[in-house]
């Protein structure tokens, strides 16, 4: 599949074919109700190696956009490519093999009797040898400070511990593309720092993170997009954006809170 297919307006005959961007979104429209869509024509592309923040006020559609990216919701119109593969019903298994997604609410994704089994669930589906999966899961849970809780069920964890378990379960898949929906929600400052470190060392190709935690996200990402009124209204380096109090304030993201 050539790049021109992905984004015909850019490629010119004779050009060397540039590398395929990891994620391309084109004119994405999505609404929960017929009229008045939440996402009104979103386009962007994420290159390999980038770490991107997705910002925006409550209810602007960040979670909705992310769920569209991995095919959990079908857009009304528009196209999405993940590593060159168009996201469609038929390609979902392949797309999902490459993408790790962590839900905003950790309860949505933990369901095995113990969190250890939960972390082993994903690798098990891809045929990883159980012993190896067990070793990896134990290591991951220990990294996330849950070594004492491996045999507990979700219902016996605190809010922050659930979040950490959900993150471990997603990282166990060793995804090429990582999409996290408000990963610091409910984490204490110590774990926020720890998570920033863990994420910075992960060998993933692209990382897209929705967050309301401007200070934290500025330590983890280099590029930031702001979603407002259904479109991407700002797309610039995170550092620059955080200098620009005026724009932030305009987008409902005052820096001091």
């Amino acid at each position: 599949m050539s790049y021109s297919y992905l984004n015909p307006s850019i490629s010119v005959i004779g050009d060397p074919i540039p590398p395929i961007p990891a994620v391309v979104v084109q004119d994405l429209v999505f609404g929960y109700r017929q009229h008045d869509p939440i996402l009104q024509g979103i386009s962007f592309s994420l290159k390999a190696g980038e770490r991107i923040a997705l910002l925006g006020q409550t209810g602007t559609g960040k979670s909705t956009l992310m769920e569209n990216l991995i095919g959990l919701k079908q857009p009304n119109s528009g196209q999405i490519w993940i590593q060159g593969i168009p996201v469609q019903l038929t390609t979902l298994p392949e797309v999902r093999r490459r993408v790790g997604f962590c839900f905003q609410d950790p309860d949505d994704q933990l369901f095995m009797p113990t969190i250890l089994e939960d972390v082993m669930f994903g690798p098990g589906n891809y045929g990883v040898d159980p012993e190896q999966a067990l070793a990896q899961a134990s290591r991951l849970l220990a990294d996330f400070g849950l070594a004492d809780c491996v045999n507990r069920s979700v219902y016996e964890l605190s809010g922050g511990q659930k979040r950490l378990a959900a993150l471990a379960a997603v990282l166990a898949l060793e995804p090429a593309i990582l999409i996290l929906d408000e990963p610091t929600n409910g984490l204490d400052p110590w774990w926020r720092r720890e998570l920033a470190q863990i994420l910075s060392q992960l060998p993933v190709e692209v990382m897209l993170i929705a967050s309301h935690d401007l200070q934290w996200i500025s330590q983890v990402t280099q590029r930031a997009m702001i979603l407002k009124q259904g479109t991407i209204q700002v797309d610039q380096p995170t550092e620059e954006l955080l200098q620009d109090r005026y724009t932030l304030e305009q987008c409902g993201l005052p820096l001091d809170y």
């Binding site: 991995i70 959990l72 999902r96 309860d107 095995m112 669930f121 994903g122 098990g124 589906n125 219902y155």
Partner: protein
């Protein structure tokens, strides 16, 4: 999951104005009278009554048709073979297929009864909101425990459905693709089911706490005042008369 039963609950037809409690009694009496019909000659009568009520309710026809399809097919599945299996009077024969008169009559009877009763049921549900209906049942003496269970589980039906859907998709995101029946797959389905149960159990306890924190059970629920409204009473009387005459005809004709 969205069933939109309350879509037409705000119309102002004669049936919408009919007090919910009287309406429940009247329509139920009529439905039971319909189900007691076994004489083919009464079929035109019950169908006429049905059409009358449906047109009085001012509900659009598509409301009925949309909901009729699935149970209609289901019914055909159950009784579809009767014309070929049941009865001694043969009215047609093609090879191994024998069409029998009694079977045909039975299907005609069952299908008409089904249509009439189903339509009346829809009228009952379509002409008031679900909440009003439950309140009506409650003031007719249905146990408040049962009505509370109904209201809360109605509310959680959608939420748990949604949660379960999300949970299932979370398994797909992590590569779970049940294409065949295997021990592991069955076990994962069992884990999903178990999670759903535990989650709802857990949530029910939290919800009970939250309800208590906000004063649930501190005050006996106000019993709705029982007013007698002439229009509703007369409508009930007429309906009961119809039901009684149907049963009378059935018994003495």
């Amino acid at each position: 999951m969205n069933f939109n039963f309350d879509e037409y609950a705000n119309f102002n037809s004669p049936l919408h104005r009919w007090d919910t409690r009287y309406k429940i009694i009247g329509l139920f009496a009529l439905m039971f009278a319909f189900s007691s019909v076994e004489d083919l000659r009464l079929i035109p009568a019950i169908l006429t009554i049905t059409v009358l009520f449906y047109s009085l309710s001012q509900l659009p026809l598509k409301f009925l048709l949309r909901r009729l399809t699935y149970p209609g097919f289901f019914l055909l599945g159950v009784v579809g073979l009767l014309p070929f299996l049941s009865g001694n009077t043969i009215i047609g024969q093609w090879g191994v297929l024998t069409l029998r008169q009694e079977g045909c009559q039975a299907v005609l009877l069952i299908a008409s009864r089904f249509l009439a009763i189903f339509t009346l049921g829809l009228i009952l549900l379509g002409t008031c909101s679900f909440l009003t209906l439950v309140k009506g049942l409650r003031s007719l003496g249905l146990s408040p425990i049962l009505t509370d269970i109904m209201l809360i589980s109605y509310r959680y039906l959608f939420q748990l459905g949604h949660q379960f859907h999300t949970l299932q998709r979370a398994t797909q995101l992590r590569g779970f693709q049940p294409r065949r029946l295997s021990w592991r797959n069955l076990q994962i389905y069992a884990a999903l089911t178990g999670s759903l149960l535990i989650r709802s159990y857990q949530q029910s306890q939290q919800v009970y706490k939250a309800m208590q924190l906000r004063g649930y059970g501190t005050k006996p629920p106000r019993s709705s005042e029982f007013t007698i409204d002439l229009y509703s009473a007369i409508a009930l009387l007429i309906t009961l008369l119809m039901a009684a005459s149907l049963i009378g005809f059935e018994l003495f004709l």
